[in-house]
Amino acid sequence: MLIGKVIKYGDNVDTDVIIPARYLNTSNPLELAKHCMEDIDASFIERVEKGDVMVAGRNFGCGSSREHAPIAIKASGISCIIAVSFARIFYRNAINIGLPILECEDAARAIEEGQQVEVDLANGRIVNRTTGESYKAAPFPEFMQELIKAEGLINYVKKGRAQG
């Protein structure tokens, strides 16, 4: 169970604002995290606390394939992202590196900045502790659940299961 306060953004949050290209001359997660979101929200990195939940609108993570984007978000302390929809490469990358993300339009629209939420990844249940409302995100397909269980693609491949 993940519990954290919400940091909220709008639609089309792109990878260039999640982590601007000028910082991509490193892949060190902690260094990347220092600049996470800075072009749209300079105070993000000061506000974010370990376990916080990011909530956003449509097409989150659109743009480049830089895995540095989910890496920076994860390293900043965010435990999970809930959005109306995710851009497909970001979606893939997040799953592959083990950053939980949930698509749930009702939750993403209703939950507000600063509220406390509780996320149960196993069944996709999201509870807004501040308002008491609860939501259900679509569960992951079985294959992705396996990836998440293996804590990402690398471990999955390591175990040799992707060879078949």
């Binding site: 601007p20 892949s27 830089r66 895995e67 497909r88 893939r92 397909p141 690398i154």
Partner: protein, 422 residues
């Protein structure tokens, strides 16, 4: 149920007779690509897997093109990581400075992608090769690492949107205008998780460079891939560049599409995407007065020889506006050389533009042309997000090489007609 082009390529590479939208498959890869930003992360992940060899030395391409020639010590270190990896694993298609070009112009030019291939690349514009009737899509570094180790990747079979092209392009209208028009129409998530399949008799009007520019920007509509029907134009290009065997896939007659858009090419006008999304399009006559500080002509979208020729045609015998820094970067060494032999570079320099060695540089705000606060650029690149080319309060306007070159002369976003006077 009939299959789309993309579905057929995926089915074949997964060893299946049929696939359906939504199905998760494991498919064999014909090429795995990475660059100097994404490959270092992939190398780290690859080493974690602990396998001592890559799946195939000739099916991996590594192109240091983003921060190269190395802009600082950190980028030099990143390039060193991938250079050493390439040497250790004897990766055949590692392209050092001097051979290097922008990856998505380079791979087709080197004959590394042919129709029917399945390609993944740790760069979102890997979708460019759809111009050749291949399935190609951007993935992240972890996928690249797993792909280099196993030669396989997982995919969710996408639905497709069909674009049925008719008519021919008007004067000063190019593939770039067509794709900007389409993105303006369907939006930046208009094709989310889907394929964009381009077909119809209008294809005849599109050169291979037009098609590369269009497939390149499929990702800007959120698409998984963009793909073109293979015709004589494609086969001619393949013949000139590759000896690899290829397979031509055609959609089944009864293939199912989530949407079908008829596009009459003759109705498309030169188009500009305003900040900060590629969907904020306006036709050139709706632009108004937008003064600019910089023009960038190049990138994996529009840094090909045809783009250079169009820019030169407009700049020939003219001077760029004194307030406009004009930076032209041919996408590969071959294009650079060809532009030199055709006298295009001379035209650029005489017009007061600078010509750069192939690099991604300014396109992603990396180096070689960063914008200051409040500055505006017209660029033939593919993204105009906040801070894409520099300061978060700078602006990027996306356009064709024709509009970019004309704007360089007038100092504001302009139609080529204003400077050529026809």
């Amino acid at each position: 149920m009939g299959m789309t082009m993309t579905q057929k390529i995926l089915a074949q590479h997964a060893g299946l007779k049929e696939v359906k939208p939504g199905q998760l498959i494991q498919a064999d890869l014909d090429m795995v690509l990475g660059n100097d930003i994404t490959a270092p992360v992939a190398v780290e992940e690859f080493n974690k897997i602990g396998w001592d060899s890559v799946f195939h030395k000739e099916k991996i391409a590594i192109v240091p093109d983003h921060f190269t020639p190395n802009k600082d010590i950190k980028s030099a270190e990143q390039c060193k990581t991938i250079r050493e990896f390439a040497r250790k694993h004897e990766i055949k298609h590692y392209f050092e400075i001097g051979q290097m070009g922008i990856e998505h112009a380079l791979l087709p030019e080197k004959g590394l992608v042919v129709p029917g291939d399945l390609v993944i690349g740790a760069d979102s514009h890997t979708c460019t090769y759809g111009a050749l009737g291949a399935f190609s899509t951007g993935i992240g570094s972890t996928d690249m690492a797993a792909g280099m180790a196993t030669g396989k990747a997982w995919f969710k079979v996408p639905e497709a949107i069909k674009f049925e092209l008719t008519g021919t392009l008007g004067e000063w209208v190019s593939g770039k205008d067509v794709i900007l028009h389409i993105i303006g129409k369907i939006g930046v998530e208009g094709a989310l998780y889907k394929s964009m399949e381009f077909t119809g008799e209008g294809l005849k009007a599109l050169s291979i460079d037009d098609r590369f520019a269009m497939a390149n920007m499929a990702i800007e509509a959120g698409a998984k891939n963009g793909i073109f029907d293979v015709d004589e134009v494609t086969l001619q290009y393949v013949k000139e560049h590759s000896t690899k065997p290829y397979t031509v896939y055609q959609a089944d007659e009864d293939a199912v599409y989530s949407e079908v858009y008829p596009i009459d090419l003759s109705q498309i006008k030169p188009t500009v995407a305003f900040p900060h999304l590629p969907e904020n399009t306006r036709t050139i006559d709706e632009v108004g007065d937008v003064a600019i500080d910089q023009v960038v002509i190049g990138s994996c979208t529009n840094g090909r020889i045809e783009d250079m020729r169009i820019a030169a045609k407009i700049l020939e015998g003219k001077q760029v506006h004194p307030h406009v820094r004009t930076i032209i970067f041919p996408a590969t060494q071959k294009i650079y050389l060809q532009a030199m032999e055709e006298g295009l570079l001379k035209i650029f320099v005489e017009a007061g533009a600078v010509v750069s060695t192939p690099t991604c540089g300014p396109c992603l705000g990396g180096h070689m042309g960063i914008l200051a606060k409040g500055e505006r650029a017209v660029a033939t690149t593919n993204r105009n997000f906040v801070g894409r080319m520099g300061h978060p309060e700078s602006e990027v306007y996306l356009a064709s090489p024709a509009i970019a070159a004309a704007s360089a002369i007038t100092g504001k976003i302009s139609s080529p007609k204003e400077v050529i006077g026809c």
